[in-house]
């Protein structure tokens, strides 16, 4: 670790910590490894348990290596719940939320970043202020309104209100304001583009990275949402994956093998996304909190 790499930036980086002594570094590494183990172990057990029968999961000692009951668990899972249907519902909900959020937030971000108009700052302040309203305040009226609209048990009850988010507008405004020069917009105007045309042909194609980040964040939040679907969806056919898991978790006779199989199916898409885009995701999720 102490070997300086030929690149000058690296050398500067290691030079700036002359106070670090090997012992404290060893302790730090040990601490980090232990923490990482604690972080990862529950995921490991999730996959291990998914391949065991209920009896084996609650055995002494519990299984620490994969068993051969995955097929059975999978069969039992599909017997108890329309799980692929539930996964599809989750996907549909997340996809609708994501696509609409990307459109409306980039449009609003463009509006806030590139135009000077009356009440721009106060309106943006309102957008930010909505971030501070606790969700808890909204639970009861949300349920009542959806009841009144007749939207109970339909996915639009969740994706329509989620079409534009304050966080998304904030993110897009920051990005468009800092990454896209105003001259580009002026030039397009001189060329006779309409304002929406400028958004469509100039802004949108340049927003790739921010759209990717916002899309990932929105998709994952929607996929993991529990309280919203819990209020809206009433039948096994309309359940999202987390609700299906919850419904399988009975008081007495839970088939833990099948349940774990369902848990794994719910989590694997997230792990795949995370594997390919963890950096973008982390930056996206925290940028709201940090630069905000």
């Amino acid at each position: 670790m102490a070997v300086a790499t030929p690149r000058p930036r690296r050398a500067a980086a290691s030079h700036r910590r002359p106070g670090t002594i090997p012992l404290s570094r060893g302790a730090a590494v040990a601490l980090l490894v232990l923490g990482a183990l604690i972080t990862v172990l529950p995921f490991y057990f999730m996959f291990v348990f998914a391949t065991h029968t209920r009896g084996e999961i609650f055995n002494l000692p519990p299984p620490v290596w994969f068993g051969d009951n995955l097929g059975q668990n999978y069969g039992s899972l599909l017997e108890r719940t329309p799980f692929w249907r539930n996964l599809w519902n989750s996907f549909y909900l997340a996809a609708m939320t994501t696509v609409t959020t990307l459109f409306f937030c980039s449009l609003a971000g463009f509006g806030f970043a590139m135009y000077n108009f009356r009440f721009r700052e106060p309106l943006f302040g309102v957008v930010l202020a909505t971030l501070l309203i606790p969700n808890a305040l909204n639970i009861v009226p949300f349920a009542l309104i959806m009841q009144a609209f007749g939207w109970i048990d339909t996915p639009r009850a969740l994706w329509v209100p989620g079409m534009a988010s304050a966080f998304g507008i904030f993110l897009m405004r920051q990005y468009i304001g800092s990454a896209i020069p105003r001259e580009l917009v002026e030039a397009a105007r001189i060329d006779g583009a309409t304002e929406f045309g400028i958004y469509r042909r100039v802004i949108l194609p340049l927003c790739g990275p921010a759209l990717a980040t916002l899309g990932l964040v929105t998709f994952i939040n929607s996929w993991n949402n529990f309280l919203g679907p819990l209020i809206i969806f009433r039948s096994a056919q309309t359940f999202t994956a987390p609700l299906a898991l919850r419904s399988m978790q009975g008081l007495v006779n839970t088939d833990w093998g099948a349940l774990m199989c369902g848990v794994a199916l719910t989590v694997v898409p997230l792990l795949v996304i995370f594997f390919f885009a963890s950096r973008q995701l982390i930056e996206g999720l925290t940028s709201g909190a940090l630069k905000g």
Partner: protein, 325 residues
């Protein structure tokens, strides 16, 4: 909308007028979807819930059955021992999960920042993983891990108990994590800690990266040890980030719902020990069908969250949470 706008510029051609018109109103149209959605699904519900909190109403009986009851929903909540217990549970779980979260995250972030330049991204990602994973899925896994007779955790503790020298630190008997009044809250809290440590690590890490390097160089030239550097440079300069992180934890923890709901069940677990206020509110609305009472409860919780955030702001933060300018 405003005919005067176009009439005031009669010399311009129709096309130019259209251009002016759309240029002027385009931004308002572009930002309007959010405000329309917020009005319908954010502002109106909140106003409605305030109205509702002063009424007695069984939603199934229709709007006509709404009856004004003044402050009664609020006084009913404030004299309901279960409401107070839910508040106490929320506060205890919030503290038991909130404090360790930060006490673990700050040193971890410091260790990653100081020690692991090359694998920093990987390690950070690893710690962040729980945050993006479905709470329901994770809580289900922890239910099996916490299982009394056969759970992995108790087996591990028994194993550690048998170690020489440090074995005495670990409990002699298996702990009934989810079936014991004393251990249910710490069990729920530990899942919350597990889930949010990585999030806070990332927050603190970006705070650390913003601290100018020459400060450390100057300090080490003056002979400061790593600990002194941490104590006198890192901690004070981390304060703004700490404020943001603590505020987010505060707001999140006071609205805890999913973890206790899955781990302890909608009953709130043994002795209602894991019944948080949001869970109780959900129960009041969903099972007791008392919308007014539930709405009043949400306002009481809101006042509490707002009050604590304000106190936190005064004591801890110098700036505002969303100082966009």
């Amino acid at each position: 909308m405003r005919a005067g706008t176009s009439a005031a510029t009669p010399r311009l051609s129709l096309g130019a007028r259209w251009n002016n018109f759309q240029r002027r109103y385009a931004p308002y149209i572009f930002i309007s979807p959010f405000f329309i959605l917020f009005a319908v699904f954010g502002l109106f519900p909140i106003v409605f819930s305030l109205y509702l909190s002063f009424h007695e109403w069984q939603p199934a009986a229709g709007l006509g059955s709404m009856e004004f009851v003044g402050w009664r929903n609020f006084t009913d909540n404030l004299t309901d021992p279960t409401f107070w217990q839910s508040l106490r549970n929320t506060a205890v779980i919030a503290l038991e999960s909130g404090i360790p979260q930060h006490l673990i995250a700050i040193p971890l972030a410091f260790a990653i920042h100081m020690g692991l330049r090359r694998v920093q991204g990987l390690v950070t990602a690893l710690y962040f993983l729980p945050y993006i994973t479905s709470v329901v899925a994770i809580s289900v896994i922890f239910v099996t891990i916490f299982s009394w007779q056969y759970g992995v955790l108790n087996v591990l503790l028994t194993g550690l108990r048998n170690l020489p020298l440090i074995g005495g630190l670990f409990p002699a008997e298996k702990i009934n994590w989810l079936g014991n009044r004393e251990f249910l809250q710490p069990a729920v809290a530990s899942v919350v800690v597990w889930r949010y440590v990585g999030w806070n690590v990332v927050l603190y890490l970006s705070g650390l990266q913003a601290i100018p390097r020459d400060l450390y160089e100057a300090a080490s030239v003056d002979g400061a040890t790593t600990w002194q550097q941490f104590r006198h440079i890192t901690l004070p300069l981390l304060r703004p980030i700490m404020f943001v992180a603590v505020t987010l934890t505060l707001i999140g923890n006071l609205q805890l719902f999913e973890e206790p709901y899955i781990i302890a069940g909608d009953s709130g677990g043994i002795g209602n020990m894991a019944l948080t206020t949001v869970m109780y509110m959900y129960r009041t609305y969903n099972f007791y069908s008392d919308a007014g009472l539930a709405a009043a409860m949400s306002w009481l919780l809101f006042i509490l969250i707002g009050g604590l955030t304000f106190v936190n702001n005064r004591v801890f933060g110098r700036g505002r949470l969303s100082g966009s300018d």
